[in-house]
């Protein structure tokens, strides 16, 4: 069964450094999502793409976070500079359409020291 690929699996970075996460969705899935999940809480949507266009980035801290999905396939989420409060699991998900169930990757666990 096809899977959503994410890398790296774990990332430890120091405060004020830049960090980037990569996601490769299931082939043919037009909609891609980045979620942030703080330990013990539910995932919170950061950004949603439809093909290469941003559909929703209302919860993305745009002063430090950026996301792109060039060519409408894989996607990169960047944080610069990282802050202690950014420590969390960053999950990527994809779906064929905007109202289909989501397929999640296994996430990137970020620790900011």
């Amino acid at each position: 069964e096809a899977e959503v690929a994410q890398s790296p699996r774990y990332k430890i970075t120091e405060k004020s450094q830049a960090v980037a996460f990569w996601c490769d969705p299931i082939s043919g899935h037009a909609t891609l999502y980045w979620y942030r999940q703080i330990l013990g809480q539910g995932p919170e949507l950061l950004v949603q793409f439809q093909d290469e266009s941003v559909v929703d980035d209302s919860q993305l801290p745009k002063d430090r976070f950026s996301a792109e999905r060039l060519k409408g396939v894989d996607s990169t989420l960047k944080i610069q500079p990282a802050e202690l409060g950014d420590s969390a699991m960053y999950l990527c998900a994809s779906s064929p359409t905007g109202d289909s169930p989501l397929h999640f990757g296994n996430g990137t666990r970020l620790t900011v020291t």
Binding site: Q41, P43, L91, A93, D99, L102, G105
Partner: protein
């Protein structure tokens, strides 16, 4: 912003017993979905129930939806140790056009 709220926050039962988790939400929805998350892993979709449906089954899972009370429940029958995980409801609200997750229920099945 959290649309759905799960209850209880944590549940511990013996293997073989049934587990029931509840989800309440605030605004009108297109559909409600349930996901499972094993520790340190991504979420896995379990079941989707649309606003015009009242009950759905999938194997040992039964989901009900009461739109008048804005609530849903997930029942896992004959629980197994492998069912130990966090369970999240997620709502696709009519006006939001995005899936919003609740805080989850942590389910522990004791052998």
């Amino acid at each position: 912003s959290q649309q759905g709220e799960e209850d209880p926050q944590a549940l511990s039962i013996q293997e073989g017993e049934n587990a029931t988790m509840n989800c309440s939400y605030k605004t009108s929805i297109n559909n409600l979905q349930w996901y499972r998350q094993n520790s340190g892993r991504g979420l896995v979709h379990l079941i989707l129930i649309r606003s015009n449906e009242r009950e759905k089954h999938s194997g040992r899972l039964r989901v009900t939806l009461d739109t008048s009370k804005k609530s849903s429940s997930l029942l896992i029958t004959a629980s197994r140790a492998a069912d130990t995980a966090s369970y999240f409801c997620a709502t696709d609200a009519v006006r939001a056009q995005k899936l919003v997750f609740g805080q989850g229920t942590r389910l522990t099945i004791n052998p």
